[in-house]
Amino acid sequence: MATDDHSLVQRARSGDERAFRLLVERYQKKVYAVALGMVKDREDAMDVVQEAFVKVHRSLESFKSDATFYTWLYRITVNVCIDVIRRRGGSRSQTIEFDEHVAHDLTEANLGGVSSQLGNNPEKAVLQRELGEKIQAALEQIPEKHRAILLLRELDGLSYEELAQALEIPKGTVMSRLFHARAKVQKLLSESLGIPLPSDDEQD
């Protein structure tokens, strides 16, 4: 039996619970990653995932079969996240717990030459933790629309066409919004890390 998204959606529409369960299990981690990046709280993120899938199930009839299931799912997820953030009012962020693996990946990421600064510094682990916290803090400070597009692009690798569908914006806007999102995070990071960004007189 076919288990591609389209077939599962069709089966779920006709009341096949197993098909819908497969869709949940296929996307739960991806949806959670986006939700966690948006709401910055593990419990809230799990609530978002549940609510998003409930909304998906209740809206299966209105899902257009020519659309992509996961771009539709991400659109619903982002909207639920924004609802949660606004309902909650202030931010309630939790710092990601670090282990050796995360610290290594952050060092490899080499944000603005941070890697070379860490070098063999005896306080490397502390600095890595600080770096992770500053990245999260920077992501929290940018507008929701910038955070959403950055998360969908960097975590799930959505193409510009898919981002346009998921966020219901023109493809050209995707390009400029992504650029502004990156530029804002990098500016915040350069300020908090004390590393100046390369620039020249013509920079806007």
């Binding site: 369960r21 949940v24 209740r58 717990e97 603005g112 023109p170 493809k171 990098q186």
Partner: protein
């Protein structure tokens, strides 16, 4: 226009980008950085890609920004993977299916119904009809509160018989029911001098009293 043309134009709402021939050095303005951002995502035309790659080869500042942009993506993925790895998804599908099997909340049901094409039209018609009945001037209601029976007349020789309805508060609503004469035939109105005229009040002794049924 094909995507390989030297000049690339994007949809309205996008910053208009033009790449006119090979660029020796790209200045670090927002257009350049926007091209660099899209280059990292693999979303440029051939001409744009060529221009960015030339700039990357010749300008260390562009390379540094590219490294920083790529680094941000890698760092976000590392942090996200750490967060996801600690999440417990056990029973999530059951919870979702359990929730959808219950009746959706009224708000959700209305929201779903609103998406159906007939609902907004039908809803507006219903609201308009309700508004008409609520807001129209109230017509006097025979026998309603504050109405006092001054007189009752018959348009033909007939007997008037009272029907008295008592309310819980002791008020009485009185209906005067006209009964045809014994033959049941309709006869033209002929008023005899000894009978009350059309507007004459019913003699007091003929008026029905509450409870007289």
């Amino acid at each position: 226009m094909s995507k390989t043309d030297a000049e690339a134009e994007y949809e309205p709402g996008c910053v208009r980008l033009k790449v006119e021939g090979p660029l020796a050095v790209m200045s670090l303005n927002s257009n350049t950085l926007q091209l660099l951002s899209a280059y990292i995502d693999g979303e440029l035309t051939a001409a744009e890609r060529e221009a960015v790659e030339r700039a990357l080869a010749e300008d260390p500042r562009v390379r540094e920004i590219q490294q920083s942009m790529r680094g941000l993506g890698s760092a976000m993925r590392a942090l996200s993977e750490a967060g996801v790895a600690r999440a417990d998804f056990t029973g999530l599908a059951d919870r979702v299916l359990g929730q959808v099997s219950r009746r959706p909340a009224v708000v959700d049901r209305l929201r779903e119904a609103w998406r159906r094409p007939w609902f907004p039209v039908g809803g507006l018609v219903a609201v308009a009809a309700a508004a008409f009945f609520v807001l129209r001037p109230a017509a006097p209601v025979p026998g309603g509160e504050g109405v006092v029976v001054q007189s009752a007349t018959a348009d033909a020789p007939a007997q008037l018989q009272p029907v008295v309805l008592k309310t819980d508060t002791g008020d009485a609503i009185i209906w005067l029911v006209e009964h045809p004469d014994a033959s049941g035939a309709h006869r033209p109105t002929t008023l005899s001098p000894d009978k009350p005229g059309p507007q004459a009040p019913i003699p007091a002794q003929q008026r029905p009293r509450a409870g007289e049924l």
